[in-house]
Symmetry: C2
Subunit: 420 residues, 2 copies
């Protein structure tokens, strides 16, 4: 395929997901390759939010909790997400932020392995997951150890001399910086073999790669809904717990919405059965309604092949981008940071360049939006629902032009913004 | 005043806050006495949310973080709240839910008093605060004790034989069920005298009563923004930390947005200085923008007397309601649950009735919206920004009619809904 590529027009004409592009409000003249950071606005979200604000809140007021089902929203949205990650209905709840959910999941895992001491993670984990683990371990008195190793060394720790002391494996499935994919099935099995629990962060996986949490026998998982799930900036996150733990896991954050009878106002906490015990406070109705509307797009993906079709297109797009960059941008100081093997890669392609920050700014000025991660990584996310093969070719051409013409080499593009 | 009441029309004509009613979208024919549970929709919120969704998110996409100041929203909103609670700018951040913030505040307090064992709270505290304390104490290994006493006995514990072992006082300032107000200054001083920290939950205080967190020397505080602050269902909560703790408090929930340099993606957590370290995950931009717009209403309160005027009107409304009920509903089986002394009462009036649930449903059917708390308490909240003295009189008359005519005595009104 790399030697004799199919034209973008042919590939787009044959794309079973092509029609989904029209479900999104994409600005004219933009090739959006940052859906791995913040997904674009799906059509229907603005209308849903306006209805929730003006009619549900504005007119129903407090009655909205019953009349519009606000109280069940975390479970309903959780079930929509469960279908996308290979988890059973009733095993996922939408709540809080990913970071807060990491704290809940890790704390629950440690409580289920009270005699063990070690949390295993890797240097490719998203930093907030490591921060949460550090904060939790400090709060618990310091008797635990967070052991952070290279991604390739994780399996060795689970079979090494300290394996019997490992309480939990805490990994992000797809590396936020490189796009490298961990072997969820193999590492979860290895964790179980060692007697440990496996906690997976699906931030860069949900909505982008095929997941089978149930088949992999994952203990706990968390994830983000504002990336490939397009829930909007800071959209509420989710948490999954396996049925074997759901009625015994003890929440670190025990709040009234996780209580078996929140409106009885008992003085003693009594967690509800199931994943609902990982709910804490009052659900964010406006934000969760936006996410619910965004997830409606996915209801129609099953009819055209489901997550397998999404993944197949993702691989086609990232392969096309890599091949295109190799052909068009040869001779420039680019290095592929992502795995070359698509089976080992999520839905993003990361390229290193010494002036990566400025190159990304120059691309953005040309309408090709990717992002940058220190020290030198340019990230390009390929969300299969709204990107075309033609967009890939346009991005390749824009990158080639920026590099050929050194358009990045201006003070304006080299000046870092607050959020990069 | 009770013997010779001013007419509602006269009182409303003399009300310095009268004009604020027009800042809210109140449905026709409704007297809304549940702003202590969910505040109504302020004008401007729907427009702001629509703009954030359609223009900021939809058009700016990932660039919104810089272009629209999303990253600073928690601090900006926190500063708006700080002014309403007597806290210095920079001491409040908007983040997470109240329950999650209780966990952070209590955990930080316990870490600041590592040699002490007891958390003092009271039976009038909102249950989620007690649940959070129970969950945290269990997670910390059970070496702490949550001592829950009657509200009137709190001071005694702080001067009793175990005072030297008290790590933290954890109280909700205004009792959610009765409206009883704790003496924040006195109890905080007593806690400090005992060597403990004072953690206050302002859920039923912020926007309703005058607060002087700084003058009371409060250590940590949390609060809710969807009640008297009208931020919308499940709006993000806030947390305050005193300057003397802000750079030493160790967050239980250590997330990337509390890091000193979140976009450096260091592997080691290094909390930022100040209250910002109590941020955890990505801020909920849609919901927090709604709250920000709702808080804009308060900007204009200063010109007409500020929180002192709000409190004065609150007292006038609750006094008028109690006097009206005493006069109009005499002979029915009503009991005043709230303190009769307005100085000891927040902005709500609670009345017990054996059929309280059904009475509230009958009132709602008549357009007077209050709520119910088990076992028999009817709550009526009097938010000074949008309620008129005439509304109080209408509510009294409606209650009298419901009771006189036993309108509550139908199966439809006695059937409990999911959320009461």
């Amino acid at each position: 395929m790399h030697d004799d590529p199919v034209s973008a027009a042919e590939a787009d004409a044959a794309d079973p997901l092509a029609a989904f592009r029209d479900r999104f409000a994409l600005p004219d003249g933009v090739v959006y390759l940052d859906g791995n950071s913040l997904g674009p606005l799906p059509h229907g979200v603005a209308e849903r939010v306006a209805d929730v604000v003006t009619r549900q809140w504005g007119e129903s007021l407090i009655r909205g909790w019953n009349d519009h089902g606000w109280v069940d929203l975390p479970g309903r949205v959780g079930d929509r997400i469960a279908r996308l990650i290979g988890a059973p209905a009733g095993s996922v709840v939408c709540t809080d932020s990913t970071s807060v959910n990491v704290a809940k999941a890790l704390s629950a895992a440690l409580a289920l392995r009270p005699d063990r001491r070690i949390v295993v993670s890797d240097r490719g984990n998203f930093p907030t997951d490591l921060y949460v683990a550090q904060g939790l371990i400090a709060a618990l008195g310091g008797r635990h150890e967070l052991r952070v190793v290279d991604p390739t060394d994780v399996a060795d720790v689970l079979t090494g001399p300290d394996a019997g002391d490992v309480a939990a494996l805490l990994l992000t499935h797809v590396d936020y910086r490189t796009g490298r994919v961990h072997d969820m099935a193999g590492l979860t099995a290895a964790a179980h073999q060692a007697g440990a629990l496996a906690v997976w962060d699906l931030a860069h996986s949900a909505g982008a790669v095929e997941l089978d949490l149930d088949g992999c026998d994952v203990d706990l998982a968390v994830g983000c809904s504002y990336k490939y799930l397009n829930g909007g900036p800071g959209a509420p996150a989710f948490i999954h717990v396996h049925a074997r733990h759901a009625d015994v896991a003890e929440p670190l954050l025990a709040g009234w919405f996780g209580h078996a009878a929140p409106f009885d106002f008992d003085l003693a906490y009594r967690p509800t059965s199931g994943v609902g015990r990982f709910r804490v406070g009052t659900p964010p109705v406006l934000a969760m309604s936006a996410l619910d509307a965004a997830l409606a797009v996915w209801d129609d993906v099953d009819a055209v092949g489901g997550m397998a079709a999404v993944r197949a297109k993702s691989v086609a797009l990232t392969e096309r981008f890599i091949a295109g960059v190799e052909a068009r941008c040869a001779g420039h100081d680019l290095r592929l940071v992502s795995p070359r093997d698509p089976a080992a890669r999520g839905s993003q392609v990361s390229l290193a360049h010494p002036e990566g920050y400025a190159v990304v700014q120059a691309l953005i000025a040309d309408g090709v939006i990717g992002d940058f991660r220190a020290p030198d990584v340019m990230r390009f996310g390929f969300a299969p629902l709204y990107l075309r093969h033609a967009d890939v070719d346009a991005a390749v051409e824009a990158l080639g032009t920026v590099l050929d013409e050194r358009r990045w080499d201006t003070p304006a593009f080299r000046r870092r913004a607050a959020v990069t």
